[in-house]
């Protein structure tokens, strides 16, 4: 295998990583800035016995992905902005049906067509709450081409392990960035497959309560016959409107994510290990790189600045934000949205007394280190 680094684009790395993780089914509908993922899949999947399906819209794309996933396949889709909005209803179906699958959302500007194709980080709350009904979701945000690869593999692993849709919250910056990259060898990264049933087929129930809150999932066409529904259902997978059952099911859907948070939540820190910090930058996705550049500049000027990168966006890294945030005099959160979707979460964790400053850009232009430094230096 060729071990020389190649210039690889973020979207290409995502497609390659999906195949590395064992994905063999892609259903999607093209939209910039995610289209390269579809194009790569259309070329690569048929060569490995997989399938690329271009559906009539994003609603159908999620439907086909979930259908394929229930035949035992690892399946995924990729989209942006308007397409992600269209996907919401069927992502809810994957959540209640506990169907492992991965949705790549290369975030772009909005609302609606907005600054079509321009970068943005404004879907964080939509990723968390975009579907009707209260539900927990997992979302990861890559900050480099290498992370596009690693986190796509991780997204499949978490989806398989916890029987849930996982969203890769990429952004146009990382998706279209090209960096030197060497694809990991097979076996180098862990690849996890879903738990399969092993007991007598007649006793199989697709939502059997279990200690880790994740029950084995059979595949259509195996000896295990099963029923999955978008309705509230009991352990056997048939609709069940009993309030006690609904109480159990909704709690289980949330708890299975909450109880495994340590396996799911990943953060990285850069220069943030001193007992006290002047400035902590909390960043995610493409803007992490900008935050790191700003922190380096501040260090050169003698300011004790560090960066906390939220690799996992949802569930939110409360513990890590508290740990690093409470030792900093000032916390600065650069994000490419108007309302400070992540800054509000940080505020929830650190409390109203914390000095939290926001750097928001929402005009299609990337946040620069200068934008951050300007906010840091106000009244400092």
């Amino acid at each position: 295998m060729d071990r020389t680094p190649r210039l690889v684009q973020g979207n290409q790395a995502i497609a390659a990583a999906a195949i590395y993780a064992g994905a063999r089914f892609f259903a999607g509908y093209p939209i910039t800035p995610s289209s390269e993922i579809a194009e790569e899949c259309s070329k690569k999947l048929p060569k490995v016995g997989g399938m690329y399906m271009q559906m009539e819209d994003e609603i159908a794309s999620v439907g086909a992905m979930v259908g394929a996933a229930l035949t035992g396949s690892k399946a995924f889709t990729a989209t942006s902005g308007p397409g992600f909005s269209l996907m919401q209803e069927n992502i809810g179906m994957a959540t209640i049906g506990e169907v492992p699958c991965v949705i790549i959302n290369v975030q772009r500007s909005g609302p609606s067509t907005g600054l079509a194709t321009k970068p943005s980080q404004s879907d964080l709350m939509q990723i968390k709450w975009g579907r009707h009904g209260d539900q927990a979701i997992i979302a990861l945000a890559p900050a480099s081409v290498a992370e596009c690869f690693a986190l796509t593999v991780k997204a499949f692993n978490l989806a398989e392990k916890f029987r849930t849709p996982v969203i890769l919250a990429a952004d146009e910056i990382v998706a279209h960035m090209r960096e030197n990259f060497i694809e990991p060898l097979p076996g180098e990264l862990e690849v996890i497959d879903r738990k399969k049933p092993s007991g007598p087929p007649a006793q199989y129930r697709p939502f059997e309560p279990s200690e880790d809150m994740v029950s084995p999932l059979a595949a259509y066409g195996s000896e295990y016959v099963f029923h999955i529904t978008s309705s509230m259902c009991g352990p056997e997978g048939y609709s069940n409107n009993d309030p006690a059952n609904a109480t159990w099911k909704i709690k289980q859907l949330h708890e299975k994510i909450a109880m495994h948070r340590d396996e799911i939540v990943e953060t990285k820190t850069f220069d943030a290990d001193e007992a006290q910090l002047d400035i902590l930058l909390i960043a995610f996705g493409g803007t992490t790189r900008v935050a790191r550049a700003a922190a380096l500049k501040l260090r050169q000027e003698g300011v004790k600045a560090g960066v906390l990168q939220l690799v996992t966006v949802w569930p939110f890294a409360d513990l890590e934000v508290l740990k690093y945030g409470s030792k900093a005099k000032t916390v600065v959160i650069p994000e490419m949205n108007y309302s400070g979707q992540i800054a509000d979460e940080v505020k929830r964790v650190l409390g109203p007394a914390a000095d939290i400053r926001r750097v928001n850009k929402y005009n299609g232009e990337v946040i620069t280190p200068q934008d951050i430094l300007q906010v840091v230096k106000q009244s400092n």
């Binding site: 048929p46 529904t229 978008s230 609709s239």
Partner: protein, 272 residues
């Protein structure tokens, strides 16, 4: 030969079913279960995908693998199943609202793709489950919960739509024409490629009541009188055609289905 009842495919525990007296859904379900048995399908090799609606509840009463999805989206989910595992028998059960109104786009594209799915659309001319509002198949001028003064819109010809979009098999029947119902379902299931059986069915509770075709037997009688085969239908005037239902097998061809075509793509990709 023992008598085929289809009983082994009916989930006895879920009975009695939720459908109203005089509703056509039970007749279609029983025809489907009998055909599964006749064709020696098994619970393991069959997946029934349903959308949302009264007919969309049918999966609750079947013993096969099943997937009950969102309103209008049965065909995309079914497409993913069939595309990823072509050896499965995949059946999509949809109402007229589900399959041809909110799901109209998926309907034409599934037919165009010619994916090997059997779609059974029970067309009761309105949205039964939500209280009898009009759908894309409600006749012009009909009274529904949202067309109190008559329907200003025109209905789809569901079979013509499937034919134009490229389906390999298209048939229309009514629940009154039991034998045709069973033979159409059998032909549709055994046909490779996209197949549609449109079953005109009474919804006495919603549509019948509002349009004064009540009680349920009256609706059945009206289906009996209106349903004609192509030879009779073709001789009717345009006005008479509007008041009749063309039944029988309308399309029966053997264009390559999606999975066959995709296999060709795989071999081409491997050569590159």
């Amino acid at each position: 030969m023992s008598f085929i009842t289809g009983r082994k495919f009916i989930n006895q525990e879920a009975l009695p079913h939720m459908w109203c007296q005089g509703c056509g859904n039970g007749t279609v379900l029983s025809a489907l279960a009998r055909t599964f048995e006749q064709l020696k399908y098994t619970n393991e090799d069959t997946v029934v995908v349903t959308g949302i609606g009264c007919w969309g509840k049918a999966d609750d009463y079947l013993t096969t693998n099943a997937l009950h999805v969102t309103h209008g989206r049965a065909l995309p989910f079914a497409t993913g199943i069939k595309a990823a595992k072509p050896e499965l028998h995949v059946v999509a059960l949809m109402g007229d609202g589900d399959g041809t109104t909110i799901g109209g786009n998926h309907f034409i594209h599934s037919a165009r793709r010619n994916i090997d799915i059997t779609a059974i659309i029970v067309n009761n001319l309105n949205y039964g489950m939500t209280g009898g509002q009009f759908s894309a198949t409600t006749p012009h001028d009909a009274i529904t919960a949202t067309t109190a003064f008559g329907n200003p819109e025109r209905p789809f010809d569901v079979c013509a739509l499937a034919e134009a979009a490229g389906a390999n098999y298209v048939a229309r029947t009514t629940i009154y024409n039991g034998r045709l119902l069973r033979s159409s379902i059998k032909d549709a299931l055994t046909k490779k490629g996209f197949s549609l059986v449109e079953v005109i069915s009474p919804c006495p509770t919603q549509f019948g009541r509002r349009n004064k075709i009540n009680p349920a037997v009256e609706m059945l009688r009206s289906l009996r009188d209106k349903a004609v085969t192509k030879d009779v239908f073709d001789k009717l005037s345009a006005e008479e055609k509007d008041n009749h239902i063309l039944i029988g097998s309308l399309v029966n061809k053997d264009a390559a289905d999606f999975n066959t075509r995709y296999e060709e793509i795989r071999s081409k990709a491997l050569q590159k």
